[in-house]
Subunit: 442 residues, 3 copies
């Protein structure tokens, strides 16, 4: 497992570094972010997909760059300034440079009366418009008069950038992780996703004897997953045994689970197993696929049907600071990020340590003569051997270890240790290995 004390702090430091950068679907902020991630994960490769490229029903939009944006009053005082917060400008704003009265400006201003101190996060990727976001208090303090309004942005043919990391394992079968690099300066949604994924990737790289290969993508939401799917779908459908969408994994208020559309894939089973042992059987919120709102919308769409589940701390849309400037670095914490890392690592571990075995002897084996069972029969239940007996009793070639672990209420990685002992004593045979041998022969 990742080192619980250091990974949270490392992830938080990385989030702090990435926070000021103005990310969007495309543009220099995404590239700068990915280059910093590349520093952390040297094998991360960056891909550029030209504007205009078709991906299923969509088209990669023009690339957006922004250099400066502000609203200045008649005294030249910048009352709203992009330099202060990247959220002040509506994402993908077209350029503007004009002087106008408050009445004319007003339709271009977005605020949240119910959260008067928060700057909202607003975007307009696929319809050309411009706008500013500001706190409702700021909005109300604007006096009638003339304002200089300037957005020095470009919307022009360019490319969409994403990062991809393949960590090979013993098998070609893959576990898939997907997270976002398109959100500007926000904490839980969404610097937590890329920094937690970075720590997970580093931990996976350090694991010896990984069974599975890992395919990890850092993408802009929606258009990024559509681009990636349209390029890799056949390969993904053949190889991916389970995937996790990594988002909103940084605060310390809740653990959450959102299922795949199929609701019972290996990813779902692993996510639930992880959360039961990370947070307790009743210690996490179980959402329905109807509550979806992230890239499982693409990964689980009909015909795509990938086994992708989502493990979160406080879910997007389910906390008051969501999609505002209040979702900042104070909302996330090293402990919150560490919990997110741990929950995802446990789900991965559940799959890595899973297996399907069959008992090689009829009846219970005589464990006593192998030193695996006490030789003195007393009235005490033997807690030590309960796991051993459980694995043996259910190793019928149908139950996998994860199913046995869920029956017994114990972590699958603990049963895996027991299964290794029994394999060493030739009391179990590995059904999956036998199947792979048959596949090779056929």
């Amino acid at each position: 497992m990742p080192n619980a004390t250091s990974v949270g702090a490392d992830a938080y430091a990385l989030a702090t570094e990435l926070f000021p950068i103005c990310r969007s679907l495309t543009g220099p902020g995404v590239r700068e972010t990915l280059r910093i991630l590349q520093r952390e994960l040297p094998d991360l490769t960056l891909h550029e997909v030209p504007s205009g490229t078709r991906c299923f029903d969509w088209t990669v939009p023009p690339e957006w760059s922004i250099r400066e944006a502000y609203i200045a009053d008649e005294d030249g005082r910048r009352v709203v300034d992009f330099a202060n917060h990247t959220l002040h400008v509506v994402g993908y704003s077209t350029p503007v440079d004009a002087v106008m009265g408050l009445d004319e400006l007003r339709p271009h201003l977005h605020s949240l009366p119910e959260l008067p101190d928060a700057i909202p996060y607003v975007t307009s990727y696929y319809k050309e418009r411009w706008g500013f976001c500001l706190s409702h208090r700021q909005l109300q303090s604007l006096a009638p008069g003339q304002y200089r309004v300037r957005i020095d942005s470009t919307l022009a043919p360019g490319s969409l950038t994403y990062g991809e990391l393949l960590i090979p394992g013993q098998r070609d079968d893959e576990i898939f992780l997907s997270t976002y690099v398109c959100h500007p300066s926000m904490g839980n949604n969404e610097l937590s996703g890329p920094v937690v994924t970075t720590e997970i990737a580093r931990w996976l790289g350090s694991l010896k004897d990984r069974r599975y290969s890992y395919r990890i993508v850092f993408i802009p939401e929606t258009i990024g997953s559509l681009v990636y799917l349209s390029r890799n779908l056949a390969d993904m459908k053949r190889r991916i045994v389970a995937g996790f969408n990594v988002t909103c994994v940084g605060d310390d208020r809740a653990y959450s689970y959102l299922p795949s559309r199929q609701t019972d894939t290996l990813a779902d089973r692993a996510a639930l197993h992880s959360l039961r042992h990370q947070a307790g059987a009743e210690g996490f919120v179980r959402y329905s696929f109807l509550d979806r709102g992230s890239d499982e919308r693409q990964y689980c769409s009909p015909g795509v049907d990938l086994p992708v589940a989502t493990i979160m701390r406080s879910k997007y849309g389910a906390y008051p600071e969501y999609h505002t400037s209040l979702d900042d670095l104070s909302l996330i914490s090293p402990a919150g990020l560490s919990g997110g890392i741990s929950a995802i690592a446990k789900a991965i571990l559940a799959i890595e340590t899973n297996g399907r075995y069959r008992a090689t002897v009829l009846g219970e084996p005589q464990l006593g003569r192998r030193g695996l069972y006490p030789t003195l029969g007393t009235r005490d239940g033997n807690l030590v051997v309960r796991k051993l007996m459980g694995v043996l009793a259910y190793s019928d070639g149908k139950h996998d270890l994860l199913a046995i672990a869920d029956l017994m209420g114990v972590p699958v990685w603990e049963l895996s240790e027991v299964a290794q002992q029994l394999l060493a004593h030739e009391l179990l045979a590995d059904c999956d290995a036998e199947q792979r041998q048959r596949d090779v022969k056929a």
Copy 2:
């Protein structure tokens, strides 16, 4: 949907007209009732099935006619008189004309000590006997002495009469409705059934573009359904996709559901869907098939196995006035009947608007450029597009709209509107239509 304000009043007026007629399994009262229904539904055809006709394990009994019946005291005063209430005579009573003492008469008298003001409803269709029904108070007031007992009835070869209405739709597949015309002067059980069915039939006739054809029968209970099944079973098994037994749909105290024997047919799914939206998820009583007591006994019998469920207001046997003179026109009401009509219409609508679709593009389609999705991304969940996204996400060719609607907790007819929009944009394909095309080719 049927006009909620007028159908209840129309149904109640029809019940009031039919109330005094003495109906039974067979005879002039049934024919008179069916002729009045024919006035309302001109396409209703009447069928006569001769006494002695075999239907499965049964035989159509002799036809019963009754002209007069009374008990008169020594002063010639008619203390019990069929002219006052059709329930005063045991149904299918053989003729009698005699003078006898109270002791001899007593075994022929039926009353309900627990409901001293009610005349019970008693029949003896398949064993020859005669009898009178009277309130317990009446019974107790009978003084010892001689009584003139007269029932001027006939039990003779004739025929059983039923009504049948076929309303054609775009498809040969049928929805089946069955109700009773054998109950004498009672309200909820059973003038509500035929008058509600009449309103439903009229509404169905007025619908343009009905997908399904409708087979509607007005029959005497048990022997009528057995007669009808024995003549039409192969046809019914091939065509009927769902059926509803229409009984006890006139009072205003409850909504009730009684499943088919299989419990999960399309009729059951539609009935539950209707009642959840008509009465609320917890607003209706769910009976078990073990509580059955109506013609689902025949329609769901082994080997017949039709998908027939029952939607009711207060279920037969579950209200104190059941099968007595207290189940009169005051027990039912325009509002009660209107609710019954609405619940059955919604179940029909659930089937009419159901469908099975598949998404035509991989990933989510770009709804924004089709004007189906807001172009400004904000923090608000988009309630408007939730149905659209739900239909798209689950349109995998396996879930039908009814299943998606039940998942989402919304009425299927609302999703159907959304599905039509998506079909128009070619974002969905109609799996059932594709299947029918394949069937035609094959």
Copy 3:
């Protein structure tokens, strides 16, 4: 059913007779016990399996005999004496005859500080050691000094002894009962098992027209079932339709159910049906297969997979006196044993009276003309015919009577009487008999 008043008393008298005998895995105490059971069940055959015989992963151990064992103090006073209680010696103790100080003796002494008056039950079948068991109070009263320690026992090639009884029925299909003869002087666990099984066997022998054959074994735990399985597995897998492990069926504090590993075999269905009618739906403890600890460990092991469930009173390990001298004849009672007998008999009866039928007529048959249904139709539900109608409605060749009985909440043996009536009227056909005829022809 067994006579409730006499079987409990008979079983208790037999337990009293067997109590003083020193039973173990092997040896004279087992043989003496089996010979007494043979007196009760003359057809019981005894089998001897030589030490060293392989059975799956195990080997039959040497035979153990013990003649005398005690600890005497310096005054020659026997402070612990096997003659007082068979539990005083660790089962399978090797011989010893020595004088030693308390310090040297101490590691050979077993007591239970938490139950200071109880002698624990300790064994060491597969590792050679010797030891004494005594109450913690006794242990604490031992003064420092020299003790004469003597165990006059033999561990030598011999044989393992078990009893087997086959009670033939109309069919070769078998119901299997298994119980223990290896526990020394204890009541609930385990004189209750063999004495209850003896009463059940006697009752089965007295039944006329048994459908099933019965295979009943009296064996030492674990090694006995492994020996029996290794000799009979193919036969058992072909013939056994349901089995019950009979253990802990003698006290009066609880009813308990422990499922087979598959959890839904005929044995499980019959056990649950029995307990629901013996103890009420909520009147018994439902354990998980994870709580197993008896020979279902062998019978339900992967590859063996026999349909064996366990019906108990207070389960082994779940009551404080378990595996100590406090589990004596005062813990069990005639009433407790009678309840155990009744629960197992009802499970057997559920299988004996089960059947799978199909209705021979379409629609409901006309029961009235066969005298099976009242000819007078009134408002009363007809409780008398509810079972009849239930059997008819669900006799579709798929539901068996046990499933119908569980749906209706009535005992299957009551439905069986109804089914016999309907078979006599040719309104049902026996699907199992039809299947057997087809099997014979094929």
